[in-house]
């Protein structure tokens, strides 16, 4: 269908974006790659350009590496779980006829507009804080001992904070999908006496599958790099150190740029493995 002419025009039009992203990706990536083979510790004024794979060996063999990978998976998985379940529920709910629909929608999507630093600060100080937090008052009001969320359930607490921010995003995408649902088909099923559960299971859920995949893909990309929420709340303590945070500790706290760069490269490789896996699914979805 496309002519030779429009094909070359297309190439020219893609060029700027591809070129920029290539530059953006390659220059810092190559420098990181270069540093990852170097003994680069700025605070010691050390720079030795080639020390082989020492940094990689050190990073991979450190006991913190595997636990960081585990924490990352736990955290991303937990957030995805909450946002998808919650998102489907909220999307179905917001699609119903009700009074003040517009206002409710704004209330629900509002958390998405809040900066991660702000939401982490607000949750940490005004909700989770065991002495002055609102949850503690709630516990006391119910006659319970206040619970120290951030030290007793640290990963869960961070999952809650991040899920709160991303639930609106999932809801929005799923809501558009719900709105495109064929209501006649649903009505017919209802006439036939299909119970609500099976209507959901056999009509709604399959229709939403594509949207759910998109939510998983986009969110995973953002969630793999969550940083502010951990930095503000626990500083990586109590087993909340993700791979991104571990790299941060190596680069900035320990000022071992070589080691941190090796960690960064490893993180990129791992993230891309996850991404390729996810994209296969979405890519298939894009085809049909």
């Amino acid at each position: 269908m496309a002519t030779q002419h429009s094909r070359s025009a297309a190439r020219i039009m893609i060029a700027p974006a591809v070129f920029l992203l290539l530059v953006w990706m390659l220059i810092p990536l190559c420098m990181t790659l270069y540093f990852s083979f170097a003994d680069y510790r700025p605070l010691r004024a050390t720079f030795e350009a080639w020390i082989g794979f020492d940094n990689y060996v050190r990073f991979l063999s450190s006991s913190s590496f595997l636990s960081a990978v585990g924490t990352t998976l736990q955290m991303v998985g937990g957030i995805l779980f909450i946002t998808i379940i919650g998102g489907v529920f909220m999307a179905l709910l917001l699609d119903k006829q009700m009074f003040g629909q517009g206002i409710v929608r704004i209330l629900v999507i509002a958390p998405f507009f809040v900066m991660p630093t702000v939401s982490a600060l607000v949750w940490k100080n005004m909700f989770f804080n065991v002495d002055n937090g609102l949850f503690s008052y709630l516990y006391k009001w119910m006659g319970l001992q206040p619970y120290d969320f951030l030290s007793q359930a640290p990963v869960f607490s961070i999952v809650i904070i991040v899920a709160w921010q991303w639930l609106p995003f999932a809801t929005l995408i799923l809501l558009t999908a719900v709105q495109s649902l064929d209501s006649e088909q649903l009505e017919a099923a209802e006439m036939d006496g299909a119970p609500a559960v099976s209507r959901f299971r056999f009509i709604i859920l399959p229709h939403l599958s594509r949207a759910i995949t998109v939510v998983i893909l986009i969110q995973t990309i953002f969630l793999l790099s969550i940083f502010a929420e951990i930095f503000v709340t626990t500083n990586g303590a109590f087993g909340t150190r993700t791979l991104t945070y571990l790299v941060y500790q190596r680069v900035l706290e320990s000022q071992n740029v070589g080691l941190g760069s090796a960690g960064g490269i490893i993180a990129v490789i791992l993230a891309n493995i996850v991404a390729i896996f996810l994209m296969r699914i979405v890519g298939k979805n894009l085809d049909n």
Binding site: R41, P42, L43, R44, A45, R58, S62, S63, S64, N129, V130, D131, N132, Q145, P146, D148, L150, S151, Q152, F231, T234, N235, G236, A237, F238, G239, R241, Q249, R250, L252, E253, S254, Q255, N256, L259
Partner: protein
């Protein structure tokens, strides 16, 4: 859609306008990176006076401590040249000076009277005998306690308490129903938070992070004693979430009357005795940090100081500002406007010789605390480093933060003290090996 469009065009318009508006400015402007502590914020309030006197405008970059460290360290290690003055501490100063990243402050004017800086502070902020950062305020740590609660418990605070007495007093003062915790201490992870406290405490228990040959010593009995004592005492008499409490959390607890005792930075004394902020202002007593009879007390030494990065284009102006901000005159300026209790403490000898300042309740104890901390001889057994609650080596901030994370996890009951120390030893060994010791 039309609303969106309107919104967008107007925001873009505003943005362009702002771009133009930002173009003007003073001929001479210095940029200062600082931490958002009360004394620094107060100093910002007085900068107009400095600008008036000198004609030099000042731009402030005020950041929370951890963010400030990231920003400033990245800048200095890449020679970024974004700042003309940096607010740094005793830990950074000798390390950065050794790399020639800071300009020496050896030619300050006679008026400034550099000899008046407390020797403990001057030593900690010098490298090879040359001053590289001027202390804005200095601190040690001491016990702040509620005189009314002590009396109720039928106890009397000695001038130099032992840890056993502190634990006993803490238990006696604790009243869970009235939400009074006998003792509040830092447990929050971070080398400058709980990590600093436990290291200083370990000093008084005869523990040390390394021996003379830099061999990590966290598997020693002394460390186990330190941590067990801390945890037992805090579990019995501390606040519920002590594993996540740092300076700020404890300060607000104490100000709300929820702590019987609090061992922390001497600068906190002026906050807890300030009736505007503290509900217990008129019943606070002060005493030296506890010991174990081994010859070392558990107090630390720290200073927030102003330094000039080597890459600055405005050395003279920066020096002028530092001389102004850390001068005797500045102290008097604050005293005049806000009272003697609120002047930046712990930097100058003359302040403690001032009869007016001696009347401030915590002045003498602060000085005694500062004088009893010796960065060159911090531990019972000898160590190869300088620093009381830290070792002034570049790797410390990194691995000690990780170590303190293991400690915090033990405080929170996620692992035993033994497990935490085992991991801490491994972390330290790994870090020291990587550093080439």
């Amino acid at each position: 859609m039309s609303i969106n469009k309107m919104l967008l065009t107007s925001t873009v318009g505003l943005g362009l306008f702002a771009g133009i508006a930002a173009a003007d400015g003073h001929a001479k402007t210095i940029t200062i990176a600082t931490v958002n502590n009360g004394d620094m914020i107060r100093m910002q309030g007085y900068t107009d006076q400095f600008t008036e006197e000198s004609g030099i405008a000042v731009e402030w970059v005020t950041l929370e401590e951890n963010v400030l460290r990231q920003r400033v360290t990245t800048d200095i290690t890449t020679n970024g040249g974004s700042f003309d003055i940096l607010t740094i501490g005793m830990y950074e100063t000798p390390i950065w000076a050794a790399n020639e990243w800071l300009l020496p402050l050896d030619d300050l004017s006679d008026d400034y009277d550099a000899a008046d800086i407390l020797p403990a502070m001057a030593n900690g902020l010098s490298y090879e005998g040359t001053l590289y950062a001027a202390p804005f305020y200095g601190e040690s740590s001491m016990v702040m306690y509620r005189t009314d609660l002590m009396e109720e418990a039928g106890l009397e605070m000695p001038d130099a308490p032992t840890w056993d007495f502190i634990a006993e007093a803490a238990a006696a003062m604790t009243d869970r129903d009235a939400e009074i915790n006998g003792i509040c201490l830092r447990g929050k992870a971070g080398w400058g938070e709980g990590g600093a406290f436990i290291t200083a405490m370990a000093n008084s228990f005869g523990a040390r992070p390394f021996d003379e040959n830099w061999t990590p010593q966290l598997d020693s009995e002394e460390w186990a004693n330190t941590l067990n004592f801390y945890k037992d005492m805090m579990d019995a008499s501390g606040p519920a979430g002590y594993a996540t409490n740092g300076f700020n959390e404890n300060l607000s607890l104490f100000q709300q009357g929820k702590c019987g005792m609090w061992i922390d930075a001497t600068v906190a004394a002026s906050f807890v005795t300030n009736p505007d902020e503290s509900t217990v202002a008129d019943s606070v007593g002060f005493t030296l940090a506890p010991d174990n009879g081994l010859g070392k007390r558990s107090n630390w030494l720290w200073a927030w100081a102003l330094a000039i990065p080597a890459g600055t284009q405005q050395e003279a102006e920066a020096k002028q500002f530092i001389e102004w901000a850390t001068s005797k005159a500045y102290i008097e300026l604050v005293a005049e406007n806000e009272g003697w209790a609120n002047v930046p403490p712990g930097a100058r000898t003359s302040l403690y010789e001032n009869p007016e300042y001696q009347e401030v309740a915590f002045a003498q104890k602060t000085l005694d605390s500062i004088l009893s901390a010796d960065p060159t001889d911090p531990t019972v057994d000898p160590v190869p480093y300088v620093g009381v609650q830290f070792a002034a080596i570049p790797e410390w901030a990194g691995f000690w933060t990780e170590v303190s994370q293991e400690f915090s996890a033990a405080y929170a009951g996620q692992q035993t003290v033994e497990e935490a120390l085992e991991k801490a030893q491994a972390i330290t060994e790994e870090a020291m090996e990587a550093a080439g010791y």
